[in-house]
Symmetry: C2
Subunit: 713 residues, 2 copies
């Protein structure tokens, strides 16, 4: 495997910056100042057309004048100057660059050409670059910061790759306020060369990074993304936000980084396939990422809730329950340990609700410790730790009563020892999440944050912060994904497709489609074409009544509701009537398909569509008339391993139908998964196929059988 390009990019010993000057209102200057002020120890070379010194450093008019070849070049210059400068750096042997400048693909055709030129330079000289239209990188381990914002000094454990620069700059003070710290963060911009998958791969290997978060507006190479993530996610949590999946989101993204967005439901499936936990907001992305980066893994789903107030306790319990956790009633022994510590009317069963209680140590240390020691839970959410924040609120009211006690003295007297409280997760190897309505103005909040115990500003968020750990437990416990071996091209299937294409068909007719499917092992209805009534009767006898009778021609892609289909034909007479009726609608020459009638009350749909960036994607869902009305479907990118195919079955809301259901046996999910694998394989083997639609896929007893099929070129 070639070295990941991020390695050198994130560890340069020397950086040349084009676009830095002495005007502090310029972006390039601000970025260079971050380099110089935040503690990075490497060499800085400003490139400037006129200035002799920039920010106190000797400036050079051109890369060609530099005294050494810098490891990294940074370009913050007008769009037109980017390509020539990049080429100059490439020529002298610089191997990495960050192109901050915008005005490329995101602006239209002309910009696209300019961007293409940058790629050519990169290929020609072997220089790898980030951007254009990005904000750069952070590597807190070596205090490297090329963004415009000031860096938090303490290194963190959370790695980020972002298709928006804002999320590694404008948010730095937001993150500091919440105690969240990056290990490394990379703004990917337009991804003309290095892309978000490169960053993901790098962070997957990076030891400083305990959890990875991704902000995504569109993925270019879907397969590589999925496979890279699959290698990482069983051992290191990866979380992602995707916002390109609506008309408005897609347009905004296109003008932002020129990203080509796919529909929201596709990314839902892709993330599940990749083992990535999807987040619905940037807040969730950061805060849940930070939970994964700092807390021990969750080993079960039993949650303890400790609170000094009923409302938050109820809200935490309710939300944790909705996320799949239980809040088990504590054993009598554990409750007996807790009860002497709380007031008589307070609750000890779990949630433990101390109610109004001024001795904070009981809330933050004594009780949590008892609970963690008990072995009765797998994690704890705590609400109500508060000290100086609350005391500041009290002070103006009580100071007179307390002899005009100064605020400082008051706070000192009320201060509590948090040293045991903040180390509980490490001591017991159990995750702890804190909910508090007090921010950094409260010393208990600050102390938790500074000791890497995540604090959420509402109880519901704290509950979901714990639940996200449960999601990674499920991902850790996934069945292994064994890369599937595609079957060889089936000559009979190839012949059918070739013939149809040669005849100018835009789709296969139902019979042809079923033959192609059958060639790859997909169970289909027994059926035969009839061109006369008598032949139809003969076919029906061979197949066995009842039968279905359908017009069969590739031009008629959707037959239902047009009088082109007759189901449940039980007698010869009825068959003759149906035959004539269909011919009356569809013409006297139309071939008639006589088909085994499958009965089963569970109908599904399987299919395939190609999406830019992801190639053929397989669909599974609730079938029959409900496909459209309920849109209860799941997607995966092909090819599908056995595990991936089985998982996508259970992604639908109606998954209960797959098990024993009322008087019906469980569905043969091995067979069903096999069909999904075959659909993906067929699409990969036969690239002329644009779409596959198997609907309904009827469950007869426990066995899935394709009752209707459409294959479109």
């Amino acid at each position: 495997m070639p070295e990941n390009p991020l390695h050198l990019l994130l560890h340069p010993r020397s950086i040349a910056v084009a676009g830095a000057g002495n005007n502090p209102a310029k972006m390039g200057t601000l970025q260079a100042l971050s380099l110089l002020k935040d503690g990075w120890q490497g060499k800085f070379y400003p490139i400037h057309p006129k200035e002799k010194t920039v920010l106190g450093h000797k400036a050079y008019a051109s890369p060609l004048d530099l005294p050494e070849v810098p490891d990294l070049a940074m370009l913050v210059v007008p769009t037109s100057q980017v390509a020539p400068l990049l080429e100059d750096f490439a020529r002298i042997g610089t191997k990495r660059a960050i192109v901050v400048s915008a005005g490329f693909r995101e602006t239209g055709e002309e910009g696209r050409k300019l961007e293409e030129r940058l790629r050519e330079i990169a290929k020609t000289y072997g220089i790898r670059f980030l951007g254009p239209n990005c904000i750069g990188i952070l590597n807190t381990a070596i205090s490297l910061n090329v963004t415009i914002s000031e860096l938090e000094k303490r290194p963190g454990r959370l790695g980020m790759a972002s298709q928006s620069g804002t999320y590694v700059t404008q948010t730095l003070s937001y993150l500091r306020e919440r105690g969240i710290r990056f290990s490394k963060a990379v703004s990917c911009g337009n991804e003309a060369d290095i892309d978000i998958t490169d960053v993901l791969e790098y962070l997957g290997e990076d030891e400083q990074t305990k959890a990875i978060i991704l902000y995504i507006e569109g993925i270019r190479d879907g397969r590589r993304f999925i496979e890279t993530a699959q290698r990482i996610t069983p051992r290191k949590p990866v979380l992602a936000q995707y916002v390109g999946g609506s008309v408005a989101g897609a347009r905004a993204g296109l003008s932002h980084t020129g990203a080509l967005a796919g529909p929201d439901f596709l990314y839902d499936g892709i993330f599940r396939q990749a083992g990535i936990i999807r987040c619905r907001s940037i807040e969730e992305l950061y805060s849940h990422g930070w939970v994964h980066a700092t807390q021990p893994p969750l080993r079960g789903n039993r949650l303890a809730v400790v609170t000094n107030s009923g409302g938050p306790g109820t809200a935490i319990s309710h939300n944790a329950d909705q996320g799949g956790m239980t809040v088990p009633r504590f054993s009598d022994a554990l409750q007996a340990g807790i009860r002497p510590l709380i007031m008589p009317h307070a609750a000890s069963a779990n949630p433990v609700d101390l109610t109004f209680h001024l001795d904070m140590r009981v809330l933050v240390t004594t009780i949590p410790q008892l609970i963690m020691e008990s072995g009765e839970v797998d994690g704890l959410v705590l609400h109500g730790a508060m000290n100086s924040g609350l005391m500041k609120m009290f002070h103006s009211h009580v100071s007179e009563l307390m002899g005009n006690i100064p605020l400082e003295t008051f706070l000192e007297q009320a201060a509590i020892d948090m040293s045991d409280a903040v180390t509980l997760p490490r001591k017991y190897n159990l995750p702890l999440i804190v909910s508090s309505f007090f921010g950094r103005e409260d010393n208990s909040t600050s102390l938790y944050m500074d000791h890497e115990v995540p604090v959420f500003d509402s109880p519901e968020k704290a509950a979901w912060g714990m639940v996200t750990l449960l999601r990674h437990k499920e991902i850790r416990e996934r069945k292994p994904i064994v890369k599937p071996v595609l079957p060889a091209e089936n000559p009979e299937a190839a012949r059918i497709i070739r013939t149809a294409l040669a005849a100018g068909q835009k789709a296969l007719d139902e019979r042809q489609a079923k033959q192609v499917l059958a060639a790859y092992g997909v169970p289909v209805t027994r059926e035969e074409i009839a061109t006369t009534e008598d032949e139809a009767v003969k076919n029906a006898r061979r197949i066995g009544f009842p039968v279905a009778v359908k017009s069969c021609a590739w031009e008629i892609m959707h037959k239902s509701g047009k009088g082109l289909i007759a189901l449940n034909i039980r007698t010869e007479a009825a068959l003759r009537t149906a035959f004539q009726a269909i011919r009356e609608v569809a013409g006297q020459e139309i071939p008639i398909l006589v088909q085994q009638m499958i009965s089963g009350s569970r109908e599904f749909v399987a299919g395939m569509t190609r999406f830019p960036g992801f190639g053929p994607c397989v669909l599974f869902g609730l079938g029959g008339v409900f496909t459209e009305a309920l849109k209860d479907t799941s997607f995966r990118s092909a090819p599908l391993s056995r595990t991936e195919a089985e998982e996508m079955l259970f992604d639908i809301r109606a998954k209960e139908l797959l098990g024993e259901f009322r008087d019906l046996p469980a569905v043969d999910c091995t067979a069903l998964a096999g069909i999904l694998q075959a659909v993906g394989a067929i699409a990969l083997i036969h690239s002329d196929i644009a779409e596959i639609d198997l609907n309904p896929l009827i469950i007869a007893g426990s066995k899935p059988i394709v009752a209707d099929a459409l294959i479109v070129f």
Copy 2:
């Protein structure tokens, strides 16, 4: 209508507090200090068994010693002292009380009895009280604060009723930090007397209150709650959070305020029926409530997005789209106005993305003004206003370059005029929501907050903050709810039920159930009971083939999958076979129901269940085998008006099935709504009925017909 008890409670001229002393670590003292320190102008009378003065005021040993009858009594004393004290206050003529003390119903049977005693006292003397187990009230208009926390001095426009005391005390500094201010807030506690519906009703009439938020763990009198809310919600937004609907949530709530919780799906329906906007977290409740309290109503769904960063702009657009808004492309004229203000590569179409741009006035004033003037949108979400917060981040980097400029000078030089920016919503009567990663440390955030422009700390939240206004537009535009007139009791139906009960039946058989339904106008299948094969054949001829044949006995409540039912019988021979087959399973004496066979591919379910607090509730949903697997249902409390019945049809995810669908005509929703109304009426008229289950309710053509029915006592 009697005067709402909250009026006097929230406007007392004098308050006596039992439980206040001179120890600042006691809750009663802290509460009394709030009364004294936060600006309320009334008279304060401490009741104390020993102290002569409390907090500088003459103390009285008993209510009987007071020099005047206080308007309000507050009790913060041990549980056992509450009843005697309340009775003393009641005796001297005090008409309102707040019982803060806990230890009542929430602790079990003994507490329940103590609470019952308080109710008796209230009834006997006509004293109305809040609590027990509550934290009290806030009325910012008169600076009245009886909670333990310091009051925000400026009155607000948001009214709150909470079944958790924390949400009107522990959160006060949280709210101040976010610029959210109450008009009035009431902690309801156990609701032994005054309940959350009383508070809702009061806030509905209160002119200072522009929007109402409710934190709910369980509603006791569902009908009164719904009808009260329905009177308010078309003109004043009401938002609610409910957290009792899970096993864990219910247990937590029970030990918290003794609330009896109903399932989550029930409250979903109740809130929709009441016109209440449901919130999923306390953060959403506060922040969305504040949006409604401060912003002009949304008149359409067209949103403008203005940003200085692509990521947030994309996230806002995506989330607004998901919430039902559009982000329309601006007209050429409007874009032509915007383009000269932004950089060449920046986007003007909507979102307007300025990218890195140091002139904040363009972002916060000039462009928003152009857009609001254009008439092309109904609201605007702005991201990226930042001034001192950002500058503080820059200062340490740039100060040396700027001649060691002091922070204050630097901030002064960078300060921007926000005076026009903050008045935009009022000037154009269009809602404005701000997204910023900077909190109060940034002066632009603070200025927005202080001028009642809501600021959210992430772009997604800002988008949803705008979307919540769209929800109230829909509620304003609901069809009027005309209180339904219940039909008179049908004598035939009453006779059938009476007879069945007399015979010891625990349910009606299918035939009886259908007769009861038909008596109230519900369309059911034609059908007749047969006791012999020949009679069955005669019946089938009269009804017309095909028919369904079923065993018919009340003991067999669920027939499917047991050989007790045969569908689609088309011939006499098949009928005889089926008749025998069923009798073989169910016994030779079983009556056989011969029934018109309804065919239709759309199947629904209608039903009725009784829930504590809400009485009979009507269910509608997707029917047939999918009822269980998809749980796609909606609920309403009976009786149902025409509007309510129609609305609940379209609450299901599969609502598309109700319109024209594939080759099927639109469902006759008037008829379908009529069935739901009838189901509710039957339950109210015949109180012996515990449950009704009409499944499937088949749509034949466009007409709904009940194909199977179960009525359980």
